[in-house]
Amino acid sequence: MNRNEHQRAIDLLTQRNVEGISAAEARWLEAHLEQCQECTSFAVALNDTEQALRSFTLMAPVSLVETTRARVHARAQELREQQARAVLMGVSFCLGVLTSTLTAWIWWTCGAWVADKLGLPSGIIEPGVLLFWLLPAVAIAVLMVAMPPTVFEGSLMQRFLKEHVRGAR
């Protein structure tokens, strides 16, 4: 009896009760077990371990299940709100970029007209127009990063979130 036979017997024993083995494999295994004390010991230990482990029960307490559900619901709500906020910010950003792009030429022309009227050098007016164009967006972005999101949740945002959350549920 060589090592490969022992290994095959152990493999078949471990597979027998869950994956199952063929009739031919079962016959070979029984024949092997009749002659092999080592594998028989393993078979007995395997069977006893399975019975022992199956006999243990552990019931989840009701309070644990309820707490878990509450936490999961709260987290789901939080994730939905984050998603809604991200969507709203994305839409706002896109609209901002779009309007800025469309109005850039107008502001630039206005700046040039003001410079011409006041006789100011373009070295002052052009950066001024750029600042005028970009500063509000930069200021809002800084504020949004620095301050908690709830500060920006006005009635429109609240209504949007409520509708979105109600729709998701």
């Binding site: 010991s41 371990t49 552990l58 999961v72 619901h73 987290r75 789901a76």
Partner: protein
């Protein structure tokens, strides 16, 4: 049953696919049903992994939060049980690694090396098994095993998982699963025979 949350006449394959769809939508009703269905199995697995019921209950909650957050990763092609246990396995490993800054394979004992501490309100596996002396002895022997062996034994004999499923869940080769199973069973053998380890 989760199937009841969808339709009473869905096949297993359809149910897994519907679970995947619901998880992507973060449907709280389906999550409730899943928690209901898998509560005992999940807690039992985590309790065996950690060796401490209070810790297992914390990880139980953490596991369901992760299921919610990572639900979009479940494709519905594999069994939900396997995916859930994989999440639980990762949560448990993260916890054990925080407690012990070493790989799980190097761990010889569970956290704090403490014996099982039953919670007053709920019976632990030990308490429930205390009526039978041999069960207590076997459970003690099981708790004495390194988590890597204990986990494979629990998944195999309590959860009735296939060896390939265990290999996928734990992230180890099939041969390693067999080795751990063999060594785990043989390590328990003295307790099973009524002797001491």
């Amino acid at each position: 049953m989760v199937a009841a949350a969808f339709s009473p006449l869905v096949t297993m394959e359809t149910e897994e696919a519907q679970i995947a769809t619901s998880l992507r939508r973060r449907d709280p009703d389906v999550l409730d049903a899943l928690i209901e269905q898998y509560q005992h199995r999940l807690l039992r697995y985590l309790a065996h992994m950690t060796g401490n019921q209070a810790t297992a209950e914390d990880l139980f909650q953490e596991t369901w939060i992760r299921v919610l957050e990572k639900g979009h990763q479940y494709d519905g092609k594999s069994k939900f049980t396997t995916w859930l246990m994989t999440i639980a396995h990762n949560v448990a490993i993260d916890h054990l690694r925080k407690k012990t800054p070493a790989s799980l394979d190097q761990m010889r004992e569970t956290e704090d090396s403490a014996p099982w501490e039953p919670v007053a309100q709920s019976p632990s596996p030990f308490e429930q098994a205390a009526a039978m002396e041999d069960k207590t002895r076997i459970q003690a022997a099981l708790e004495g095993l390194p988590p890597i062996f204990r986990e494979v034994l629990v998944l195999r004999f309590q959860e009735q998982m296939k060896l390939e499923e265990i290999a996928k869940l734990v992230g180890i080769p099939l041969a390693t699963v067999k080795t751990r199973l063999y060594r785990g069973v043989m390590a328990l053998r003295p307790a099973l025979l009524g002797g001491s380890q």
